[in-house]
């Protein structure tokens, strides 16, 4: 359901706009449809195409992308069209192709520091807050949907399929980041839903391969976090979010920023202490030299 397999070189023709797209490669596949890297044969530009037979999902995501175009983190969106082939009706939209690596692949190849993990969560949290201000939740957060844009040098969010108006039921989600899958509440769009998934993303960044799966239960996530080396006040805050006790997104991000700055200050202090060491060396060295000269002169004097 919702999937189609297109080979390299296949050409997709928009039913309404008559634009031609040639398939270059497959970028990914989700529950709703597939995303391909294509070249627009009329303009010669390379872009990404999301294709599915689910008209509702494709139309809704296209509109959400348009609604939130002012956010830099979101890919620039092109056109929405249909494609009919062999009696099968497919729906697609075009968008900016983002060159880079998704975060899931990235953390598999190298370990990231706590400081970097906090930085990432602060960026995503900031984007989430903008959705919340406009009465929406992001919904379907996951590492695979976060791209490290090599050209712009920033983090981009590539899938808006889970964006849901506050108070409505969440329809698209990924179990590992979804509080209902962990048996921690309703699948309903509210601020706490996004905070739960953000907190899980943070846990994933900290624990990497050691991240427990749902059958292990939420306690195992908490146990993992205990060993991640976070200061205990923030650990308690993360625990509260895991168990969906009342924590506001604002408070969470504020505490996280404090932690980020503390770490920076710590690094800074460390650098100063190295400088201190250098000063001490210079200072100590000059005293030594002074004594040496005195001893030398004294020796000379006594010899004479």
């Amino acid at each position: 359901m919702g999937k189609c397999d297109l080979g390299l070189g296949n050409i997709i023709v928009g039913k309404w706009n008559q634009r031609h797209y040639k398939i270059l490669s497959k970028l990914g596949e989700g529950g709703i449809g597939a995303v391909y890297r294509v070249v627009d044969l009329d303009s010669g530009t390379v872009c990404a195409l999301k294709i599915s037979n689910d008209m509702q999902s494709i139309t809704k995501e296209y509109e959400k992308l348009r609604d939130f175009q002012q956010l830099d983190a979101i890919p620039a969106v092109g056109e929405l069209d249909d494609w009919v082939q062999n009696e099968e009706k497919m729906h697609f939209f075009s968008m900016e192709y983002i060159q880079g690596c998704d975060l899931k692949k990235y953390i598999r190849s190298r370990k990231i520091s706590i400081q970097t993990a906090i930085g990432i969560i602060l960026i995503i949290g900031g984007i989430f807050s903008k959705f919340h201000q406009r009465g929406y939740v992001f919904g379907d957060l996951k590492l695979e949907n976060l791209m490290l844009d090599e050209v712009k040098g920033s983090i981009r969010i590539i899938d808006l399929g889970g964006v849901t108006a506050m108070g409505k039921g969440i329809k698209e989600f990924t179990p590992l980041y979804d509080r209902a899958s962990w048996n921690m509440g309703l699948r309903r769009a509210d601020e706490a839903y996004d905070l739960f998934s953000l907190n899980m993303l943070f846990a994933f960044l900290l624990l990497g391969e050691k991240m427990p799966n749902i059958s292990h239960g939420i306690e195992r996530v908490r146990d993992g976090l205990v060993q991640a080396g976070l200061p205990s006040p923030f650990l308690r805050l993360m625990e509260k979010v895991l168990y969906q006790k009342k924590v506001s997104m604002n408070h969470y991000l504020k505490q996280l920023r404090k932690l980020y700055n503390q770490k920076l200050a710590f690094d800074h202090r460390y650098r100063i202490s190295i400088k201190d060491l250098r000063i001490n060396l210079v200072f100590g060295g000059s005293i030594f030299l002074f004594l040496l000269i005195i001893w030398f002169s004294f020796g000379k004097l006594s010899l004479g």
């Binding site: 209902a180 509440g185 309903r188």
Partner: protein, 246 residues
Amino acid sequence: MKKPEIKQIIVVTDGKSNIGGSPSEAAMQAARAGITVNAIGIMASREMDDEFLQEVEEIAQAGKGISETAMIQDLGHTMHMVTQKSMNKTIETIVGKQLKEILGNELEEIPPRSRNKIIEYMDQLGETIGLKCCIVMDCSGSMGPKIGTARQSIIELMNSLKGRGGKSEIAVIAYPGENGDYCRVVQSFTEDLDQIKRSVLTLKTGGTTPTAPAIKEALELIQGEHIQKSLGNDWSQTPLLKESMV
């Protein structure tokens, strides 16, 4: 006037039916009564058992629903997706008909950028419409090690449906039932999550796979509120009697 309501059955099974008649015939009966029958096949491994898969597909096809396969750990997510897709399909059909009456057009004949208003309307309908969902859960011997996750998936589906604005009711039927019965109503329709949590704990495994009688029981349970109990009973018991005579 009675509010519109979506009625569906979700058959969850991990093996081919082996007693009690044809499941797809039972699904067809339900579809004729306006009840969608979806089917989820639980796979033991990635390898495919063709006959089993075919039966899962046939049930959904006859029941005008959605069929899907899943590993047991993905059952919760799959139940959500199947319910959602099948609801969307029903709503698309209802709205599509209205559209045709008003505009003489199908949604696909309207330019893509103009569809959004109608799709938003369908979305809103899906958010607020009443939903009755009867889960027909395989409890045969082979489900033994999976039943814990199956219980959790039912609770999860309730948490998912309650996230909507509309009224959502869930019922659970286990097959086989106890003491040689083909099936057992574990929970009749309720909105109460705690009630469901309690009753799924009574799900036990062991015995055969009488899929068809369980689907008929679900049909009867959904219709029970409109048709007199005795009438429904006679009608659904007939094939069972034939089966036991063989």
